[in-house]
């Protein structure tokens, strides 16, 4: 399928709660910005098995080991503080060559 789509992985402790929050806000932004994307949501225990093709991880929980993919804190999307900066950083990571 399309290889230009950016793939995001949204992570929280359960993979259903705060990661949904973060996913909704971030994917809305990416749509507005016209950045083609797809995403997965997972719990922190399953991150290692979900990394295939992932360009960026946004996590509301600490990922307790090193991964090869940039990891961004999802906390701003839960507190509402620092959202613009976080979105700008996501855009710069996803649009960098």
């Amino acid at each position: 399928m399309s290889t230009t789509k950016k793939r995001l992985l949204f992570v929280c402790a359960t993979g259903i709660a705060t990661s949904t929050q973060v996913m909704e806000r971030v994917t809305r932004y990416l749509k507005d910005e016209g950045i083609e994307h797809e995403y997965l949501q997972t719990n922190v225990a399953s991150v290692a098995n979900s990394l295939d093709g992932v360009d960026l991880i946004v996590a509301t929980t600490k990922i307790p080991y090193d991964v090869d993919v940039p990891v961004l804190r999802g906390l701003p999307f839960v507190t509402g503080i620092g959202v613009d900066d976080a979105l700008a950083e996501i855009k710069s990571i996803l649009t960098a060559e």
Partner: protein, 153 residues
């Protein structure tokens, strides 16, 4: 969806006097237990999860925490709210090395099947509004209940 979330005035505690995050979780857990919403090791599960995946949020003007656990021990989905007289320290979500002084705690008891309820979404949109947080801090039990219930409706 017909799934209901129990949130009665009995599940609002204000003011809560607690010296630690564990104490406030125990007190809120007790109110859920008395309402027949949780059983077994619910509070212990929440505390264990909080130790591993903390839920403190550095919101303004005061910090908020949203502790929860796996559905084990949840009989009926419910939410209990505590407004603390004095702040207690929670670890920050996603940054366990950092602490936040918390005065509002939402203890969520959710069954797996209720994840579509998107309660968290309703709560966090409120928590992003400092005026609403301020209102929770200063409201009576019935004010706090009405404010939160209007979100969940």
């Amino acid at each position: 969806m017909t799934t209901t979330l129990e949130f009665t005035e009995n599940l609002v505690l204000t003011p809560v006097h607690a010296r630690s995050s564990s104490e406030v979780i125990e007190q809120l857990g007790q109110s859920l237990r008395q309402a027949g919403c949780v059983t077994g090791s619910f509070e212990a599960d929440v505390l264990a999860r909080e130790a591993e995946h903390p839920t403190g949020l550095p919101t303004q003007p005061v910090g908020v925490a949203i502790p929860h656990a796996k559905p084990r021990g949840v009989l009926r989905s419910a939410i209990a709210v505590g407004i603390l007289a004095d702040p207690v320290e929670f670890r920050v979500m996603g940054a366990p090395d950092e602490a936040v002084a918390v005065r509002i705690v939402f203890l969520m008891a959710l069954k797996e099947s209720d994840r579509h309820l998107n309660i968290l979404s309703a709560l966090t949109s409120m928590l992003q509004d400092p005026d609403q947080i301020d209102q929770l801090l200063h409201g009576s039990r019935s004010d706090v209940h009405a404010q939160i219930e209007s979100l969940l409706a």
